[in-house]
């Protein structure tokens, strides 16, 4: 194999830091595909979970338990006529979804799925993430404006005001966590995403528990602000369907509309990753400092395989419970096949966990470790995604002035106070 492919094996750096453009491109491709698939899965999960919150079944027809529904939706949206209103600003109407999409996907370059499982590590990583994700709102704003219609315009105005106000609280909450990274011998913190997780590793504590309750408050502020930042319920003022019909994307349809949705879900995953990286220990498994015996490492490395085994079991149960009518034959076969695929993945992962159980430099061990990192990171993201759905099922929508009041009069002062108290606590402790 050429040197530029093999030279990266065994490196503990990200491809960006190692200067290996080939693997950087591979990572970019993997992340792009992964995020797109995750968005589709999230689409299905949201419809399904929301339906079960609301005593409905949700999608059931396309594939077993509606598993293929996102694909059907994607095909339908892609084939739909692309309507641009005649009075709209053609070029901006065309380009607006792309702005949001680009911003949402660009941030993934610095998200660390593991100590070397990121495209690149920037020494301004967290600033880059916050900055680029704030560009995404430009897409929403110009989309609302370009539609040349009242409801989208109001949606765009709401969205821009909302983003600007919540970004402040969000940034301050992050800064208080960045302050915590400087609690080391040198007394210098870091803005690098990988560096932040490593700081938590070195200090032996997730920042959510650091200086309790300061870290928790900062996390809570971020968790609230990130819902507002991604325009999700109960802060979905920009697209409030009962007030503004659909807000900024009222005039959009087909593929362009689906790009907005893709950007929204990608942004949800991105902001969740920030929260996880900064407060919840990023790729670290639970209790890496307390349960540090190799046996514990082995037990935790079984988790990915066991998760897939559990999913396979659920699929098998679903197959068995399916009515034995000939109408369901295809669905049964599909679900059984899905269970088989899941079981195969589970089997492979378990084999890998056993093969790479000794923490040496063998390829299996490296692979096993990498899978562990990505698994724990993705699991934490999944929890956040579920929370997003849960919020949506539970809460009514805020009113715009109340949203502003919460942002400026509650979150901002609290985050400032947390920042100051964190600084004081840091000085006192060191």
């Amino acid at each position: 194999m050429p040197n530029f492919i093999t030279s990266y094996f065994g490196s503990t750096l990200t491809p960006g830091a190692a200067g290996n453009q080939f693997w950087a491109l591979v990572y970019v491709f993997v992340i792009f595909t992964g995020v797109s698939v995750a968005v589709m899965a999230m689409n299905w999960l949201e419809r399904k979970a929301l339906a079960h919150f609301q005593i409905r079944l949700g999608p059931m027809r396309v594939g077993p338990h509606g598993l293929l529904q996102p694909i059907a939706d994607a095909i339908k949206l892609a084939l739909k006529e692309d309507i641009i209103p005649s009075e709209a600003d053609q070029f901006i109407f065309w380009v607006a979804p792309l702005i949001g999409l680009l911003a949402a996907f660009t941030v993934y370059t610095v998200i660390p799925f593991g100590p070397s499982e990121a495209v690149s590590d920037m020494n301004i990583g967290i600033l880059f993430m916050l900055g680029v994700s704030s560009i995404g709102v430009l897409g929403i704003v110009v989309a609302g404006w370009a539609s040349n219609s009242h409801y989208p315009l109001i949606g765009a105005l709401r969205s821009s005001a909302q983003m600007v106000s919540y970004e402040v609280a969000m940034g301050l909450a992050v800064v208080s966590a960045v302050l915590m990274t400087s609690m080391n011998e040198k007394g210098t913190g870091t803005l690098s995403m990988i560096g932040i997780v490593q700081a938590q590793q070195q200090q032996g504590i997730w920042f959510i528990f650091k200086f309790f309750p300061l870290g928790f408050i900062a996390f809570a502020i971020f968790a609230i602000a990130m819902i507002a930042e991604t325009n999700r319920a109960p802060f979905d003022m920009a697209e409030a369907e009962s007030e503004l019909t659909a807000g900024y994307h009222t005039e959009y349809s087909g593929l362009r509309w689906s790009l907005f949705m893709l950007a929204e879900y990608a942004a949800m995953i991105a902001v969740s990753s920030i929260a996880i990286t900064v407060w919840l220990g990023g790729w670290m498994r639970p209790f890496p400092n307390l349960l540090r015996a190799p046996a514990w490492g082995f037990i935790f490395s079984l988790f990915p395989g066991l998760t897939f085994a559990g999913l396979a079991a659920i699929a098998v149960i679903g197959t068995i419970r399916m009515p034995s009518h000939s109408f369901f034959k295809v669905q049964r076969m599909g679900l059984a096949g899905f269970a088989a695929v899941l079981g195969l993945i589970a089997f492979l992962l378990l084999v890998l966990a056993v093969a790479g159980r000794s923490p040496d430099a063998s390829v299996a061990a490296r692979f096993n470790a990498g899978i562990g990192y990505v698994y724990w990171f993705v699991l934490k993201i999944a929890v956040f995604m579920y929370l997003f759905i849960w919020y949506r099922a539970t809460w009514p929508r805020y009113r715009f002035d109340q949203l502003m009041r919460v942002g400026w009069k509650v979150l901002l002062p609290i985050s400032l106070g947390v920042l100051i108290l964190t600084a004081i606590a840091g000085v006192v402790v060191s």
Binding site: R56, I154, S242, W395, P396, R397, R399, D401
Partner: protein, 412 residues
């Protein structure tokens, strides 16, 4: 508030032929600059609106106007400076139809006015005609009427709660209320074969005897639904966002309510204890023990609480009625061809949305000379402008929801 009804056009026969050619399909269209409008939209002296003023058409195709209501909003940013309701998109001429049908034939039509509480409509109409005929329904019929009407009140309030919560952004209560409303509709279906537009009552009593197991099913329903009401309240009553969205929103005083003729839960939430079931009892309501819940502030939250309390009171009434339902005939002696004596009658009942009145003029023939309906939705909608001025767009949605209108009844 000026209610503007779109130009209906005259009926085809009294219009000259050439005029019909010119405007074959006259679209109900309104000139925004006509002098009646109090919004002074786009007057020639000031061609541009103020820097931040904006005119928005909410409806007639809008997800949250509960049908085809069109509200013209004049906004300053998001603040509402004034509203103007344009109604009539669902006008079917029910009152005119009434003049061309016999008394019995008109009975099903009234179900189509407030289609979510069809039983109450039928009850009001039947009682009005009975008063005109000077007959009285037998006691058993009255009890059945009360049971069905109160079940219908529950169904109507449940539908209101679901859609109102959906307007404010809480999706989940909608499905919970629809699940429970389904049980009521099942009872209706078993009783008279129809779920929505029931046509349950006849002039002089009830057409159908209760089916076997009716009482047991109603009692089961009572047991089933009481905890469900607690469930709705759990989701909403102490929900902080719900409180913020509904408290002090759309406040209306009792005096204003009375001045505008607003009735029903809206009136009671502003503190006036006025319920026709108590004030001028009809059917068998005088025999039951129940309370009239009232609010204090007349805001959206109080209206919510009043309706929730009314659902519980309805349960009480139904329980008493089911336990005390007498035996006996269900139809009074009514002639086959109903020909009331010459005269006029106004009879009103407490529909779920407020006072539903029927004014019927008889000229002694088999058809009414004139039927006029006093629909609660139509009258209550008058209060919209008063309630939303100075609030925000989101509040307009909340207030439209809280007034609880059904466009079929507003436009008739």
């Amino acid at each position: 508030m000026t209610m503007t009804v779109p130009a209906q056009g005259h009926s085809a026969k009294d219009r000259p032929k050439d005029e019909m050619k010119e405007t074959p399909n006259e679209v109900p269209n309104r000139d925004l600059s006509h002098s009646d409008s109090h919004l002074d939209l786009d007057t020639p002296e000031k061609p541009y609106l103020d820097a931040n003023e904006l005119i928005i058409n909410m409806g007639p195709q809008h997800p949250a106007t509960h049908g085809v209501l069109r509200v013209i909003l004049k906004l300053d940013g998001e603040k509402v400076l004034g509203t103007e309701c344009v109604i009539g998109y669902l006008h079917r001429g029910v009152e005119k139809i009434g003049e061309n049908r016999t008394y019995a034939m008109f009975n099903p039509y009234v179900d189509r006015m407030d289609y979510v509480s069809a039983v109450s409509n039928g009850l009001g109409y039947c009682e009005a005609v009975e008063k005109l005929l000077d007959v009285e329904a037998p006691a058993r019929a009255k009890y059945i009427r009360v049971i069905l009407a109160e079940l219908n009140r529950m169904a109507s309030h449940q539908l209101w709660l679901g859609t109102h919560a959906l307007d404010i952004g809480a999706m989940t209560p909608l499905f919970y209320t629809f699940r429970d409303r389904e049980e009521i509709l099942k009872i209706f279906e078993k009783y008279c074969g129809a779920r929505l537009t029931t046509h349950a009552f006849r002039i002089g009593g009830c057409q159908y005897e209760t089916y076997a197991g009716f009482e047991k099913e109603v009692k089961n329903f009572l047991k089933f639904v009481a905890p469900k009401i607690d469930e709705y309240e759990e989701l909403l009553t102490t929900n902080r966002i719900w409180l913020q969205r509904t408290k002090n929103v759309g406040v209306i005083s009792a005096a204003d309510c009375v001045a505008l003729g607003v009735t029903g839960p809206v009136l009671r939430a502003s503190g006036k204890k006025w319920d026709l079931r108590k004030a001028q009892p009809y059917a068998a309501y005088s025999e039951f023990d129940f309370e009239v819940p009232t609010g204090e502030n007349g805001d959206t939250y109080d209206r919510y609480l009043v309706r929730m309390a009314e659902m519980r009171q309805s349960l009480r009434i139904i329980e008493q009625a089911v336990n005390g339902i007498p035996e006996g005939p269900i139809m009074a002696k009514v002639p086959k061809v109903i020909k009331p004596p010459v005269g006029e009658i106004y009879h009103s009942i407490e529909a779920p949305k407020g006072e539903l009145g029927f004014f019927i003029v008889s000229d002694g023939s088999i058809q009414p000379y004139r039927v006029r309906v006093r629909p609660p939705s139509f009258v209550n909608l008058q209060a919209l402008d008063l309630m939303v001025r100075g609030l925000l767009v989101a509040d307009v949605i909340a207030v439209i929801g809280t007034i609880d209108i059904v466009l079929g009844e507003v436009d008739r």
